[in-house]
Amino acid sequence: MGYLINNIFRSSFDPLSVFFLAVIAVVSLPSAVYSVGYMKGRYSSGKITLGWALLILFAASMALVVTVKNAFSFIIVWELMSLVSYFLVIFDHEHERSIQAGTIYIVMTHIGTAFIITAILIIFGHAHSFDFAAMKNACLFMPSGTKNLVFVLFLAGFGTKAGIVPLHVWLPYAHPQAPSHISSIMSGVMIKTAIYALIRFAVMIVGVESTWWGEALLVVAAVSCLVGVIYALMEHDIKKLLAYHSVENIGIILLGVGASVLFIKLSMPLAAAFAMAAGLYHLINHAIFKALLFLCAGSVYSATGKRDMEKMGGLIKVMPWTAATFLVGSMAISALPPLNGFVSEWLTFQAFFMGVVSAPAGIKIFMGILAGVLALTSGLAAACFVKAFGITFLAMPRSQNAACAKESPFSMKLAMVFLAMLTVVFGLAAPLILKYLVRVSGSVLSVDTSAAGFTLNNLIIAPRGSGGIYLSPSLLALGLIVIIGMTVLAVYAVWGRRRLTTGKTWDCGYYPAICLDQGGIPPVSDRGRDKLDPRTEYTATAFSKPFRIAFDFFLLPYRKTEKIRESFYHVKSFKYELYTTPVFKEYIYQPLLRAVFKISDSLKRAQSGSIHLYIAYIFITMLALIIFMSRF
């Protein structure tokens, strides 16, 4: 046992590990508090105990993943993390969809693990040791071709867990299906462990070999950003929408990391440290606000029993705490100042700007276009969260469930408010956090960052030192508050108190839907009142229509219509359904799956059931092995 602890499970606490431990703690603790209220009444007491055990095991396995110093034990804890999260995905196993989501997840994650094991074994072939330090030394003498191969394997393997496009397919199934506090940990932290592993293995152990690594990472990241956010816009299941945003945000994180990998090869060490810090900053920010949003979504789900946004509305009046914290989370993920998402996206833009200013011409154009992609992504994300917040929480309730919803219990509110406050703190205290993160990225890239003053007197971020570009989120917030205060005072001083009349929203001359059913003529008693009803409100589908049309070359929308007729002339009702084509599933995974089934079918012929044949198989295998052993 002592041997095991000393050699296999020896932990390291270098700055990168400590940073990721902090990320795990910052999300897991509020989620655990939240689960007290969330699980109560929903599950039996036995299942609650099971839930706690799995939750603790899950957090512990993630903590081990980011601290072990040995590739062999890394694989073990990585697998442990995958399995525990699988059990958590199928926690609501009475739902058919949970089982299906779990299956997709476990298959995808093991394909990923296969890539990772292959890569680690290749390095082991050179190092003859699983110890990180020994592997690192061996990689110094590895041929460049092997390094490139190992990088691609790591990218595919960890990319599956991180959810980069096109390996993201499991994510929108698995994340929403888990209980909400688990969704928040999975989306907030688990996919980030893949980023940790990518940095640890590809950047720190193998070492960046050529510029195309960075370029590949950036392209993959940009594609993930756009695909994630476009799918999120089309989604009306609130938890699925958030899951797609995880794909988008992993893209943004990888934009920072990728830029850093590129800069280190272009001999711009300070820019590399800065870009890595921007990526890590977005990583912890995303952990915080995505956890917050998932917890809020869970709170809505608990209260209404639904995840479809089209059935909600008006929740801001019955669930004020959930609404306010969801608004904070939405603002943060849409990169609105002065919250944390804004700071890290601004930093990522600045990293690109460094490239535009001082990299070679080709890279300049590349980085400028990436900045454009990031801008488009953040614009679309803002649109998506206007939809998510506006349709779910504002206006009139669209169903009975939404109208009768109740605010969640204290433990859930506590967790949500805590995370909402963290988003504010991580926005305002940005210079301090950036300083720390630059130290972390300096240790990752072995760059001396002590000379780089990215901050001025702990209040202002200055990416280009003094005499350049500045940002101070705390002063910006102060400025906003002062201007709002001055406006309110000025308006009240000059024009006095606000004189309010409450009226009805202009109904555009609609009759209530009920009247339309009765031939379009409203009964006399209804004339002139209550013309507006929830069916005349703008819906999430309608909100995303411009985007659906603009991106139709990718989404390939199609509709199914069905007329139910009473007679040839009279159509009684009309059914209209709108779909978008899941491109990746349709054109990559389905053909792949069909091919697998086809091969399995033809292999079935080998299994005849005859014992003689099996003995022959064993004999042939032994013979082949003996020949193999004698040749090599």
Partner: protein, 272 residues
């Protein structure tokens, strides 16, 4: 001081544009100070608020105005020492305006009116396509401090972006209240009285923010008021000479702007 002048003269710019448009159309039209009279009238009026509206609807005018005013303070002014550069830069302006827009779009949805939602949806759609144009052209311009050929190309891309952002023809029409065509006007449809006044003032200021970015960053010579007037005249000329596009033609318009900004980036990267 310069900034206070800019804020106070913001409605004047709108008035001037309106005046030029009317002159070009051989109409009499109101004087250039009409926007001030409108604001004064609106501030003194009572408000009607929808019974469906929540606190988001109430705070939105203040947030929008504050974000626009603060954004104006970040606009770099050549020559003058500006303490606000320590708080935020050009990119922070774009993020700040996004803050205002986010709340305005939420307010559009808040009343439960179909028009408000339509306006919000379209506004977020247009603005998400405008953002890449602004970022890429700013990058192209700021990559080198001096005025070059690439600045001209980026400037043209920025003008297209500004037309879209300030809800001008051919993307949006400030003068219309026709249900099917309005974008910005649809979002503020349910506002009245002093809230509407605040939002209108914010729109005037936002326009000046974009005009001064265009004036100061792309063409860093000359005096600001003159340059703003030239840009205003240019916008007015565009407005009277083209017709408004259908919403989905605006996609082509903005895609062209994106391509133009990338072209500016390429030209700037090769050193022209």
């Amino acid at each position: 001081m310069e900034y206070l002048m800019l804020i106070l003269s913001a409605p004047l710019v709108s008035g001037v544009i309106r005046k030029i448009k009317n002159d070009l159309r051989m109409r009499r039209g109101p004087g250039v100070f009409q926007p001030y009279y409108d604001l004064a009238k609106l501030f003194a009026k009572d408000e009607v608020v929808s019974e469906n509206a929540s606190w988001v609807f109430t705070i939105t005018p203040f947030v929008v105005l504050a974000s626009c005013v603060l954004a104006l303070l970040f606009v770099p002014m050549p020559g003058a020492a500006n303490p606000f550069v320590y708080i935020g830069d050009l990119l922070a302006i774009i993020f700040l305006l996004a803050l205002g827009r986010f709340f305005l779009a939420l307010a559009g949805l808040d009343t439960g009116s179909a028009f408000g939602g339509m306006g919000s949806s379209r506004e977020m759609f247009i603005s998400s396509l405008v953002e890449p144009v602004i970022f890429i052209s700013i990058f192209a311009v700021c990559a080198s401090p001096s005025f070059r050929f690439s600045s001209v190309v980026a400037g043209i891309a920025l003008v297209l972006a500004v037309i879209a952002e300030t809800s001008r023809i051919p993307v949006d029409n400030q003068e219309t209240h026709l249900e099917l065509t309005m974008i910005h006007e649809a979002m503020v449809l349910e506002y009245s009285g002093r809230s509407l006044a605040l939002l209108e003032l914010a729109a005037h200021i936002k326009q000046v923010v974009f005009f001064s970015i265009l004036a100061n960053c792309v063409f860093p010579v000359g005096i600001l008021p003159v340059k703003i007037l030239i840009i205003a005249a240019m916008i007015a000329l565009v407005e009277v000479s083209v017709a408004k596009m259908r919403l989905f033609r605006a996609v082509d318009f903005l895609s062209f702007a994106i391509v133009l900004s990338v072209a500016a980036l390429v030209i700037s990267a090769v050193g022209l």
